[in-house]
């Protein structure tokens, strides 16, 4: 059996501890809606009620909360404790967008492992009202307000258009390459009842879609929506007592503001940590049964495949051409449909891959199952603070069958 390994640090420092004895369980999705009149608090409440129902735990048994939300203002996680009547001994708020799930998972695992908390709910909840997204963009970050938003107010579409244009020119990627991934994800979404996109997408439809910020067209861009995702972190014995399927975390990493001197982002922090990630997990790339990338735009999925070491830098386009990404393909990616076909429910967008991976490796996917799925790699990427995404994270998860 594969097991977590203690990794000796190259610099002679303290070796990293594994996550023995702690598990992830009770993945929950609160149904997504394009727009909602409910607030983020409503979605957080539904998510918490969901994990309690799923686990059979009483509300009072929950003593830790790790929250992410873009639309909870003026509240933070603190306000939510009173709003939802939670008495906790461990509380965290992770404003890291697409990296929030992996980062929250890391925090929660250590909290439970150390005994600071016994059951931590990791929750990402966001609403989407008709003008919410615009409001989020205008005040997203100080650099964005000062040096990006006044230039056309294109939001992440414009930022990713730069990265995509540069990636295409530098590495020879074509629209068809991005299209192949988007089309496969749509096929994956069709069996997922939570996906907001219900119709198949052909490559021709992808190519013919209207331009949004060239070279990006409609189906390259994630659709903002309302919704929530959540899971629980607790000790293995507790989960087994509750009769819950257990997912083990073999290894994780996070990096922020990697490669600040690169003129434009063509790599992320995964490059710095992937060797240690796989070494700690005690698995190789060939052992990964499914990959969940952060996919608000397809270019960043290709970058993750490269930077996590599935192919070399610049070989993303060729990698896409030579693999199939559907649930039954040789390299299943974003098996629930990913954000591009399910929708991006704010910070829950960063959680989507994690809850899906937990479901797949425990044999309980929302849609179609990846055959013999045991080990999953979940990657997170978040926060275009100015010209690039700052937060990178990844986790390798193993189901009971691994």
């Amino acid at each position: 059996m594969r097991g977590p390994a203690v990794v000796e640090k190259k610099d002679g420092g303290v070796s990293r501890q594994g996550y023995e004895g702690v598990v992830v369980t009770a993945p929950v999705t609160v149904a997504y809606e394009r727009y909602s009149t409910n607030g983020a608090h409503w979605f957080a409440a539904r998510a918490l009620a969901g994990v309690l129902a799923e686990s059979g735990l009483a509300k009072a048994a929950l003593d830790g909360l790790c929250l992410s939300s873009f639309t909870l203002a003026p509240d933070t996680a603190v306000g939510l404790t009173q709003h939802l009547g939670l008495t906790l001994r461990w509380l965290d708020h992770i404003p890291m967008g697409g990296a929030a799930a992996v980062v929250s998972l890391r925090r929660a695992l250590r909290a439970v492992q150390s005994g600071d908390a016994s059951v931590v709910a990791c929750v990402a909840a966001d609403t989407n009202q008709v003008d919410t997204f615009r409001g989020t963009l205008g005040s997203f970050s100080r650099f964005s307000q000062d040096a990006v938003y006044p230039y056309g107010a294109g939001g992440p579409n414009a930022s990713f258009a730069f990265l995509t244009a540069h990636y295409m020119r530098t590495y020879g990627a074509r629209r068809e390459d991005f299209g192949k991934l988007c089309v496969a994800q749509r096929a994956n979404a069709l069996t997922n009842p939570n996906a907001l996109f219900k119709k198949p997408l052909s490559l021709q439809e992808y190519l013919d879609a209207r331009p949004v910020a060239e070279p990006l067209h409609l189906f390259d861009c994630v659709m903002p929506c309302a919704g929530a995702e959540a899971f629980l972190v607790m000790r293995r014995e507790r989960a087994l007592d509750l009769g819950l399927p257990c997912t083990t975390v073999l290894a994780t990493m996070e990096r922020h503001n990697s490669f600040p001197d690169d003129p434009i982002q063509s790599r992320g922090g995964w490059v710095l940590d992937r060797d240690e990630l796989f070494a700690q997990a005690g698995v190789g790339h060939a052992d990964i049964d499914l990959l969940q990338t952060y996919d608000d735009y397809p270019v960043i999925s290709l970058m993750q495949m490269e930077d996590l070491g599935f192919c070399a830098k610049g070989e993303g386009p060729q990698f896409v051409r030579s693999h199939e990404f559907t649930v039954t393909g040789d390299f299943p990616v974003n098996t629930s449909g990913g954000q591009l076909s399910v929708g991006q429910a704010g910070a829950a967008g960063g959680y989507l891959g994690l809850t899906e991976a937990v479901r797949q490796v425990t044999g309980a996917p929302a849609g179609a199952a990846v055959p013999q799925a045991r080990i999953a790699l979940v990657s997170g990427f978040g926060m275009i603070n100015y010209d690039r995404g700052l937060c990178c994270g990844a986790a390798i998860l193993a189901g009971p069958g691994a």
Binding site: D146, Y149, P150
Partner: protein, 376 residues
């Protein structure tokens, strides 16, 4: 009525870019301790964490490394103006900047020169131009950053002075469609078909109110009316004249008006021997113009303040020892300021020097002047 404007919120640090752009200068923060050049503006040096940051002029040379044609915008102002071409420029001095890219610029990758402009909301933004060659633009959203007089209707409040006459001629030369040439008393001899004489005495309420009917037509107001010599008259013309104009004309200005130019004096910043009362009236006018600027900014109208030294002209100014600027040169500077869309202009060597001294240390300048005051 307020105009639809591009997004205005900026951090205080970011206003350093706007402040330099208002003078037509491209400046970035430079760390006084380690020399790092940085953008976007920060509170501390991103390399060494020093908080001693200075705004220093930059060449703007760099590489356009990526670009997009934005078709969908989240903001009302831009939604009316898409498609908009944007780029990422790696500046030779270090940082990467998001910039507007005129349609005349070659596709990325390309060498460019980044230049600051004030946008329609009066905030500093960056535009990439070809490294050599003219900085003209054909894209409507970029043209709006300029107050180009070509094809526009302009009012010059007093065309009877040497500056006024030179300015009318310069505006006609620059392609203004109509120039109303104000004359307080004596009739004005008209030489070009674009020029229309207009009886206007800024010291008289009735005269200003009558002329304000033009507000519905005028695109650019240039207040050249000035008095120099007698304190009461200086205040009546230089300060109350501007007050009358701003009260009567500003509300009457049509939607689509682009600029309001005040010819002030560099001695509005710090007085000069023999010019105390003139300087005081101009300091008052300068202060008033800042309020006018804030009001007109809401409507997308740029207030341009011109701070010359003494204009070489017959009369009282002739005997002054202060360095003088020729009316023709000043008129050309005003037209260029409109074309570049800057806010503050210090034309001529004398004004530049006075401004530099004042900017470096106003108190030192005060002492420098007072030491020479009696001898003057």
């Amino acid at each position: 009525m307020s105009a639809t404007l591009p997004p205005r919120p900026r951090s205080r640090a970011a206003l350093g870019l706007t402040a330099a752009a208002a003078r037509g200068s491209f400046e970035l923060q430079v760390c006084r301790e380690c020399g790092a050049v940085q953008y976007p503006p920060r509170e501390a040096c991103h390399r060494c964490l020093s908080v001693r940051l200075d705004w220093r002029p930059q060449t703007g040379a760099g590489d356009l490394i990526a670009e997009t044609r934005l078709i969908h915008s989240h903001d009302d102002f831009f939604r009316e103006r898409v498609p908009i071409r944007l780029g990422l420029v790696r500046l030779d001095c270090g940082p990467t900047a998001v910039v507007f890219v005129p349609s005349t610029i070659a596709a990325a990758p390309a060498r460019v020169k980044v230049v600051p402009r004030l946008d329609k909301a009066g905030q500093g933004v960056l535009v990439a131009f070809a490294p050599e060659g003219p900085m003209t633009v054909s894209d409507p959203y970029l043209q709006e950053m300029s107050c180009e007089p070509r094809g526009r209707k302009v009012l010059v409040t007093d065309a009877t002075t040497a500056l006024g006459a030179a300015l009318v001629a310069e505006l006609v030369k620059a392609g203004a469609a109509t120039v109303w040439a104000g004359h307080p008393r004596d009739p004005l001899a008209v030489t070009a078909k674009e020029v229309k004489p207009l009886q206007l005495d800024v010291t008289r309420d009735n005269s200003v109110r009558a002329a304000a009917a033009l507000g519905a037509e005028v695109d650019i107001v240039i207040n050249t009316a000035q008095a120099l010599g007698e304190a009461q008259q200086e205040m009546e013309t230089n300060y109350f004249g501007l007050l009358r104009l701003s009260q009567a004309f500003a509300p009457a200005l049509r939607t689509g008006a682009v600029a309001w130019v005040n010819v002030l004096s560099v001695y509005a910043l710090q007085g000069f021997p023999q010019l105390e009362t003139f300087a005081a009236s101009m300091a008052a006018a300068h202060s008033l113009s800042q309020g006018l600027r804030a009001d007109l900014l809401e409507r997308g109208v740029r207030v341009i303040n011109v701070f010359p030294g003494i204009v070489a002209e017959a009369g009282a100014a002739g005997s002054l020892k202060a360095a003088k600027i020729a009316p023709g040169a000043l008129a050309r500077t005003i037209v260029k300021a409109l074309q570049d869309g800057v806010e503050d202009v210090y034309p001529g060597d004398a004004a530049q020097e006075w401004f530099a001294r004042w900017r470096e240390n106003p108190k030192v300048l005060e002492r420098e002047v007072s030491a020479n005051w009696r001898r003057a």
